[in-house]
């Protein structure tokens, strides 16, 4: 369930409150999205959109984490060291 797709905020149309709206880009197209739950987001940021409403701002740093993990995995070419690192991060 819960098909949620990342889109980029192009332009705020109505910034405040429960009826907030912004133009959001999904690859080649833009559409008006209801922004009640992400009123503090800025243009250029990405949000996750589900059924016409944004339900979160995407945190760009957190979005990188997996690639850092992967890069570390790649460096060590083994899993033991990586496991230790990861465990360290998580705990």
């Amino acid at each position: 369930m819960c098909l949620g797709i990342p889109g980029k905020i192009i332009r705020w149309l109505e910034r405040d409150g429960v009826f907030a709206q912004a133009e959001v880009e999904f690859d080649g197209v833009r559409r008006v999205v209801h922004m009640a739950c992400v009123t503090e987001a800025e243009e250029g940021e990405y949000v996750i959109v589900h059924a016409g409403i944004a339900i979160s701002r995407i945190d760009p740093e957190e979005a990188e984490q997996i690639f850092q993990t992967l890069a570390e995995m790649g460096d060590d070419e083994g899993w033991h060291a990586t496991e230790t690192d990861d465990a360290g991060e998580d705990s």
Binding site: D27, G28, V29, R30
Partner: protein, 358 residues
């Protein structure tokens, strides 16, 4: 854009000559009932508009010019809603569609019939605009409209306008052998980005409110077919315009006909950014979405690169790609490799995909 808004708002400029005859600027039942208004509509609106591309007369059947080559025949009805969509309209579609069916069968499209089923209340200006599109598309594709028919049905008994075209063309040598002759190793090529027509129509019809409005790929495949056959001759096994059911439906038909497994790779499928964005938003797979100017081609092993190069050199075909090949029947009739690279069955859709939230 402003064009589109005009289409949707229905505020047509009225200039159909038949208007002079009746107080209504819409098609009425009387226009379809064989009397004076019928003849006026046919003569002053339909025949006049189609005159440059037509040998239409009021007689019951029209003689065809002699032809030295064997002929092929096809038919299709066009029932699209809305009648005008980004990149085309039901009129151009009705010509391209039948021209393409002839083209992919190896025939040079020559003669069409044109049959209109009009819902009472269709603005005459809409009808005229669509007929102009028919005429223009027929001129572009070099076909003559030889016979026609006009019916008007009561309000609510049709959806604005349905068009049927039947087409006759001359078969060119060599005729493609057909999907039952697809062999292991044959290469599968798509002539351009997939899903554009279906997504364009859905965007307008469901009022998705997306910008830019994606454009239909609606267009003629005959020049591409002719070039391919000129270059590759009998190395082309078969061609098919990937209309309803999209590329997936053609693959399933061909797999059934050939008893091969047709295997494609998702990363090779050309998709435009508009189609990509909307497909993700609605949870749709562009492989299942209809096209109207994009075809699937199977060529002999080794001929793929030449075919793709040939296509990419043609106007509007720069997106042509090899997307897969035929193999002896394996785990499924049609398979696709996605992210992890493993071969998995490609669904044969039950019907048009519905937008999902799940």
């Amino acid at each position: 854009m402003s064009e589109r808004e005009r289409n949707l708002s229905g505020s047509w400029q009225l200039n159909c000559p038949v208007l002079l005859l009746t107080t209504s600027d819409c098609v009425t039942l009387a226009h379809g009932e064989g009397g004076r208004l019928s003849r006026k509509l046919i003569q002053e609106c339909i025949l006049k508009t189609l005159q440059p591309v037509s040998s239409l007369c009021l007689n019951d059947a029209a003689p065809l010019p002699r032809s030295e080559r064997p002929l092929a025949m096809t038919t299709d009805s066009y029932v699209i809603t809305p009648l005008f969509f980004p990149g085309g309209d039901i009129g151009s579609l009705a010509v391209y569609g039948t021209v393409n069916d002839l083209a992919v069968s190896g025939a040079r499209p020559l003669w069409l019939t044109l049959s209109l089923i009009i819902e009472e209340g269709l603005p005459l200006a809409v009808l005229e605009r669509i007929l102009e599109s028919v005429a223009q598309t027929a001129a572009e594709t070099g076909v003559q409209i030889m016979a026609g028919d006009t019916k008007v049905v009561p309000r609510g008994a049709a959806d604005g306008l349905f068009i049927n075209t039947a087409g006759v063309g001359e078969l060119m040598d060599p005729v493609p052998v057909g999907p039952d002759r697809i062999q292991a190793g044959d290469e599968l090529i798509v002539s351009g980005p997939v899903g554009q027509h279906g997504i364009a129509v859905m965007a307008v019809r469901e009022e998705l409110g997306v910008e830019p409005v994606p454009q239909s790929d609606s267009g003629s495949l005959f020049p591409a077919v002719e070039n391919l056959r000129h270059k590759l001759g009998a190395r082309v096994r078969c061609l098919r315009d990937a209309t309803r059911g999209g590329v997936s439906a053609v693959l399933h038909e061909w797999a059934a006909a050939s008893d091969m497994t047709l295997s494609i790779e998702e990363r090779l499928i050309p998709v435009t950014p508009e189609v990509r964005g909307i497909s993700e938003l609605l949870g749709l797979d562009p492989l299942h979405i209809a096209n109207e100017g994009t075809m699937l081609i199977a060529v002999e092993q080794g001929a793929g690169a030449e075919a793709v190069a040939e296509l990419q050199g043609l106007p509007g075909m720069s997106g042509a790609q090899k997307i897969g090949e035929a193999r002896e029947r394996g785990i499924a009739a049609v398979t696709v490799r996605r992210t992890l690279g493993a071969e998995q069955p490609l669904a044969d859709p039950l019907g048009s995909p519905l937008p999902r939230i799940c």
